[in-house]
Symmetry: C2
Subunit: 222 residues, 2 copies
């Protein structure tokens, strides 16, 4: 164990975060010099979100993967400033949302995947719990922020309910990860009227989903 | 929404997983042809774990990032087959572990970050809860599988306790993500006597930590 490890291991968490974001900023500057397209997701408006996702993944692909529909960041800030609820598709994304920051804004986070009504409704309809959870959430919180880090079926169902006028989300965070049906489920959101943040391509995940929510919460509370 | 989306969105989850792993296998074969070093983590022994991590992240860097100490996979399988407990550093990693599969093996998963004893002990010692959680866990479950997806201080503390003979983990999964102190905390595990699986470099995370545990659980229960 060298000197440097001992030194920085005693740093307080906020100083570690400050240094981490400084490193991320430097690397983004370097990437911009080499290839501006590699940081195409990055604008003054989106910066806090893009950097937070890179902080969570150490993956600079997100500097060009993330798609923001026009006004998505403002919509998210408005929603959370007014205490809009969050609905996630997995308990893992729910678990990653900073409850202290959410609490300061009166934001409640929900995941219905283990909800009794969802289980019964999925069994009765012969559908997945991810899909049924969106249906139940749409009735309880039609104008929540919907955050999908895992289930493309949930994202596709959100699109259907929006189309049918049964869901009017303030913002959709569409960042499921995977190899089957995932890219299509995300591409289906892009370029439509839905206010959304999407991780294009295969990458994403519950950690990315939670990081995007936390980026909004921290911008508003710190 | 095109035909293909509608079609594969109705696939059962196990079929989606089967197809996903087939795609991952094909891509790994392709990468091996282009550059064998890009899949250097992949052996018949480690395959289930490497593929599961790629399934969780859609990031093929893990085909060369993951380090397995000699006998790490066998040690993990032995541990979980005998119902060894798991200790995680975050509730998010805990949340990502498949409790049904764990339950079949009698494996209990714990995260002490919000434990009262940990909070009191961290406050009294002026240290982080991540570090104090390792100390408390070491007393309760000295030979558990320790799984760190976030906190390098937890990983450094695990090394110290092993050195001092106060912790004898069956396996250490060391996959914190980040930019400060993270690479050093992981490098400090590699090439020593500790039985470990480590994600070299900056990448990792609670999702990767849970995926590695799940890969073991699924190998033993499916």
């Amino acid at each position: 164990m060298n000197e440097q490890v001992t030194d920085s291991s005693s740093l307080p968490p906020d100083e570690i975060e400050r240094r981490s974001f400084a490193i991320i900023g430097e690397e983004l500057d370097r990437l911009r010099t080499i290839d501006p397209a590699s940081v195409s997701s990055l604008t003054p408006e989106t910066e806090a979100i893009v950097k937070r996702v890179i902080h969570t993944t150490a993956d600079f692909d997100y500097a060009r993967n993330l798609y923001f529909s026009p006004g998505a960041v403002v919509a998210g800030l408005d929603a959370f400033r007014n205490g809009a609820p969050v609905v996630t598709d997995t308990t893992m994304a729910l678990s990653g949302i900073n409850k202290q920051a959410a609490g300061k804004l009166g934001v409640e986070a929900h995941c219905l995947i283990a909800d009794r009504e969802v289980r019964e409704s999925a069994a009765a309809a012969g559908t997945t719990r991810s899909r049924a959870a969106v249906d139940v959430a749409a009735e309880r919180w039609p104008d929540a922020v919907y955050v999908i880090g895992n289930a493309p079926t949930a994202l596709l169902r959100i699109r259907e309910l929006i189309r049918d006028g049964r869901l009017t989300p303030r913002l959709v965070v569409g960042v499921p990860v995977g190899f089957v049906n995932v890219v299509e489920s995300k591409d289906a959101l892009i370029g439509r009227e839905t206010t959304c943040i999407v991780a294009r391509g295969r990458k994403g995940g519950s950690n990315v989903a939670a990081a995007i929510v936390n980026a909004f919460l921290y911008t508003l509370t710190r």
